[in-house]
Amino acid sequence: MDAITRRRLLQLGGAALGGAGALALTGCSGSGAGTSTGGAGDPAKASITVWSWQGPAAQLKALIPEFNKAYPGIQVTVQDIGNPAIWDKITTGLAAGGSGLADVLHIGVDYLPGYVEKFPNGLADLRPLGAEKYRDAFAQGMWQTVAPKGRVNALPWEANSAGFYYRADLFEQAGVDAEGLQTWDETIEAGRKVKEKTGKYLLGIDKPASQPDAANFFQMLLQLQGAFYFNHEGEITLDSPEALTAMTLIKRMNDAGLVSDLSGGWSALESSIKSGTAAVLPWPTWFGGIIEGLVPEEAGKWKVRLPPAVRRGGATTATVNSTHLAVAGSSKHQAAAWSFVEFALTRPASQVAIYRGKGIAPALIAAYDDPVFHEPSAFFGGQKKGEIFLQALKTPSPAFNYSADYARALKAVTDAQTKVLLKGADPAAVLREAADLLGSQTGRKVVR
């Protein structure tokens, strides 16, 4: 081997190492364990930052003047990080031991358990700040979500129940009584009639799973049966009979040509609603405000109800998700941050203002005494939308164990759903495969 080849080899080695270096950036993190560098700070005088996204961020911003009347020394900056960008940003912040994180973080139920488990002390324990007095202030099941093991990781903000928004005019044209639909089987039959008479799809799904939330509808069908991807012991229940029922319903809808494709994320969903592609939007509480904002000219054509049951006589309510405000463990102004969280989430007037602004439904039960939740809605044909969802929120609903591996579970589920919707795969086979994959990835037991 002469000098030239040796030099080449060195260059090559350098290139390969450079490659490893670029990719190793992911690893320059440590686990962030036990790096709680923050502290309570001065409760009366501080400058704090809040991370949230779009609508909720705007609503938090609107609360600041009122907040400053009570806490004139605390300066609040709300940043709209955007969703889903906020999850990557929080993850990298936590992985870096909290450096660069905001003081207050808006976190969804899908991410909260993962953050808590993978980054202990990444979020401040709110007990020393006085969180426990609000134990019974929120909708049933919420406290278990934010404080599963005693430690209070966050306070609940919005609580979303499964919903069923539909175009009443289309169902009327098809001669179907949408209010009377008892089960999803009946709904599929109704969907056939709607398609026949009006040419509209029953509903839409992001078939190639271009977004991680493509399995929203599947998950709701599962939750209506009180089932989820994990049981409370953290074991995998991804191919339970309930999951098979849910996936089979989706396959039947798709095979009957009742499912439009919503691939392309939020903008595709918006344009689909604007062009009136489907008769039903099986989305939770918060989505009513979105529809109203997108197609205000269709006021009176839309109605809302709780979803039909999966089995006759089964549940029509489920709290499908929630979001929360947490205080970063690295925050040097935890007391001031807590004051803002407390002001926004436990004061009924704050939550009422937020609901008026963006239709975000509070987990705070006391907020529902306000008349705004009991007014007829002009957009939804004079229905009292707030009361419909309040009824759902008050119905006992099991708390679901999202676990620290929810993101992996979701990926396995959306891949399974894509196989069913795009390749006509057998639901039982793909669910079994997904459960096994999840088991090998996480080391969790699959219960069958």
Binding site: T5, A20, S210, A407
Partner: protein, 305 residues
């Protein structure tokens, strides 16, 4: 030749070293110090740290030594093999096509018959300057099945509506298209630079010997391009195995993992699933693969001297 060369080479530095060694001047070391420090902090440390991480698992927020468990898990992970298969497909299909295209382009851009060569060269090189995410988003808008310009054009000439990003096969084609658009001009420029060093006399001599255009290309241009072709091939191989931005923006790795690359899978494990140990193991396997492939390419295509 080589014997006398090495004899000279060994004699001269030895004499120099004898003269300068006792003085130990600090200046050269001071000059390289910033680069060495930066390299240590931002390359060596992460490389070493991620190797350590790859031997650990995170349990309840604490790092637990796991030996080779992450690597063993990798071997049995169907998604890793899917990702590897996808990267290999791109390597086997897109890279040769792109390099052939780049060679043709380089020859065309080198032609004295072409007017406005500077403009064309600029035009083909410009995609390379475009930000990865920006062009990914532009492609995803263009290729949107219902509202995209590409399908609109296809339909206006009576073509079918193609599910560019929503069908597993077409998603791969779209990814290949985007990559080709972005990197062909870059490779063509490297080849062009090399082409300009091929002496014109060789072509003249070949022409005098009666060689046609094809034989001149085959026997003069291609051998002349060989080192540059090797360079572009190795660079493209490294780049292909590390592809992340394009599938991340265009398809998210879908549908059904059809465009999941190793880079994407690594990212998902680190930043979606917080599994930094496993992600580091993927990074290391990837680095070894790249080194092996590069070595192979040098062996097969490099100078035989």
């Amino acid at each position: 030749v080589s014997v006398s060369d090495s004899a000279v080479a060994s004699r001269v530095p030895a004499a120099k070293a004898a003269r300068t060694a006792p003085r130990r001047r600090p200046a050269p070391y001071l000059f390289v110090l910033p680069a060495v420090l930066l390299f240590t902090a931002f390359k060596l440390y992460p490389i070493g740290r991620s190797f350590v991480l790859s031997l650990h698992r995170t349990v309840d927020g604490a790092e637990v030594f796991a030996g080779a468990a992450n690597y063993r898990r990798l071997l049995g992970d169907p998604l890793f093999w899917t990702a590897l298969g996808n990267s290999a497909t791109i390597l086997a299909v897109q890279v040769p096509l792109m390099l052939a295209l780049a060679t043709g382009l380089a020859v065309a851009l080198n032609s004295r018959l072409l007017r406005g060569r500077g403009l064309f060269r600029l035009g083909f090189f410009l995609p390379m300057v475009t930000g990865l995410v920006a062009y990914g988003i532009v492609f995803s808008v263009l290729l949107n099945q219902r509202y995209g310009l590409v399908n609109w054009l296809l339909e206006s000439i009576g073509g079918p509506e193609i599910p560019w990003l929503t069908d597993p096969l077409w998603a791969r084609v779209s990814l290949g298209l985007a990559l080709t658009w972005h990197y062909t001009g870059y490779n063509a420029m490297i080849l062009l630079a090399r082409l300009q060093t091929v002496p014109a006399e060789l072509y003249d001599a070949a022409a005098v010997d009666g060689a046609g255009a094809w034989r001149r290309f085959r026997h003069v241009t291609l051998p002349g391009l060989r080192p540059a072709l090797l360079l572009t091939l190795v660079l493209s191989t490294i780049g292909t195995l590390q592809i992340f931005d394009e599938p991340y923006v265009l398809t998210g790795g879908g549908p059904d993992n059809a465009t999941l690359t190793i880079g994407m899978y690594l990212y998902q494990n680190a930043f979606k699933y917080f599994d930094f140990g496993y992600a580091s193991a993927i990074a290391y396997v990837l680095a070894v693969l790249i080194a092996l492939l590069g070595l192979l390419q040098f062996r097969v295509l490099g100078d035989s001297s």
